[in-house]
Amino acid sequence: MSYRVRLEMFEGPLDLLLYLIQVNEIDIYDIPIAKITQEYLGCLAEMKELDLEVAGEFLVLAATLIHIKSKMLIPVEEVAAEGPPAEDPRQELVERLLEYKRFKEAAMTFEELEADQSLLYVRPADPAVPIADGPLEISLSALLRAFMTVMQRAPEAVAGEITPEMINVGERMVALLDRLALQSPVLFMALFEGVTTRLQLIATFLGLLELLRRGLVRARQTEPGGEITIYRTVETAVETDGHPG
């Protein structure tokens, strides 16, 4: 090879492949797989020290190329003139390459637009602007970040103690409490009515266990093997009752 290639130059295996196709002036619709595979593997071989994760991505495509190459070696049976043409083993790869190329080119357009826009300056944000009383504005990302921050700051023991690990469980707990607010006691089995997926079933059960553990509900079984009933121990609270302010 007359050129030296460094993997960092490329945004991934498809980018590298596109580059090889371009420098060799190859028609993307008729890729000489044997030649391009050899070049591609040659590039990989030059990388002595590779980030394992990155290498993996490049190796996956190497395997694909080798697979296509092997398929190309199998002689195509003569097909009757009116029969459907045999599918080219390269077709899927070509489609992927073209799809990637479209977005790579779009990214280049974006880069130009970014360059243009970076020359336009807006007024610096005024820190004195008071928070208004208008409709509320929160972003989900902001909420997630707030949660991460609060959990990172929290004393470990405390944070762990009130952590039901799965969010689904928390959701089920609330749903169960709501259900029990309407009707209590209720039959254990009735709490699972309308639960269709196994995951939901497990979540509901774990939610119930957690409620029991926290003493927010009680379970009662009058006789062995008999029906289990669930009681709500949470007391109803009106919004103003005991609420600060």
């Binding site: 991934g12 498809l14 996956v60 990637y100 080119e105 779009a106 974006f110 826009q117 970076s118 007024r123």
Partner: protein
């Protein structure tokens, strides 16, 4: 209103654009001005744009992300960079590719992005969400319920688009694009989603 009677509506709009840290939509200006119809506000904005279109002005009114904003002219950039002693940071190529993919294919999941780019995108996606160019739209109703990503209003501002319909047309895949029509349709769908989410305000 008496106090503001001293100042022309043009002046008020100019002041509003000056103090706002996001582009102001026609509707918001109309609501603040009070007593002027949308058509009138629209005409006033056109007047203001015209007034600012003078060669010796250093700032201009431009239309972006469903609203109007004041920015400096590009020719003033070297001076501003000297004043600040720095240039604005740019996105990496990986970030730009991922962003392009999200912009055209939204709503899109992480696995779908990975499938096209052929590389892991966790780090890049995180950066884009952090910079608020990309936002979470919800979850895809399929196994694993992956998170759906889309572009934000900040994205439109960042690249100077009025709305998503202004995205440059993607080059069609020649011979191998039997579903090109479907692609266009999905682009339309995205626009509708955006409108519904209030990111792009229909004029």
């Amino acid at each position: 209103m008496d106090t503001q009677a001293d100042l022309s509506p043009l002046g008020i709009i100019e002041a509003l654009l000056f103090v706002s840290d996001t582009p102001l939509s026609l509707e918001r200006i109309e609501a603040v001005l009070d007593g002027y119809s949308k058509t009138e506000v629209s005409r006033l904005l056109a007047d203001l744009l015209e007034k600012y279109r003078q060669p010796d002005r250093g700032i201009v009114v431009s239309e972006v992300a469903g609203g109007y904003r004041l920015t400096t002219k590009p020719e003033a950039a070297p001076g501003i960079q000297r004043l600040r002693g720095s240039k604005p940071a740019r996105l990496s190529r990986a970030a730009l590719e991922t962003l392009a993919l999200i912009a055209y294919k939204q709503p899109i999941t992480k696995p779908e992005i990975v499938a096209v780019r052929g590389v892991m995108v966790d780090g890049v996606l995180k950066t884009l969400v952090e910079r608020d160019l990309v936002r979470i739209l919800g979850r895809k109703p399929e196994v694993g319920r992956p998170i759906l990503y889309g572009t934000s209003r900040a994205f439109l501002e960042y690249f100077g688009f009025k709305d998503l319909s202004e995205l440059p047309t993607l080059k069609e895949i020649e011979a191998l694009a039997p579903n090109a029509a479907g692609k266009e349709a999905s682009h339309e769908a995205v626009k509708h989603i955006e409108e519904a989410e209030g990111v792009v305000r229909p004029d």
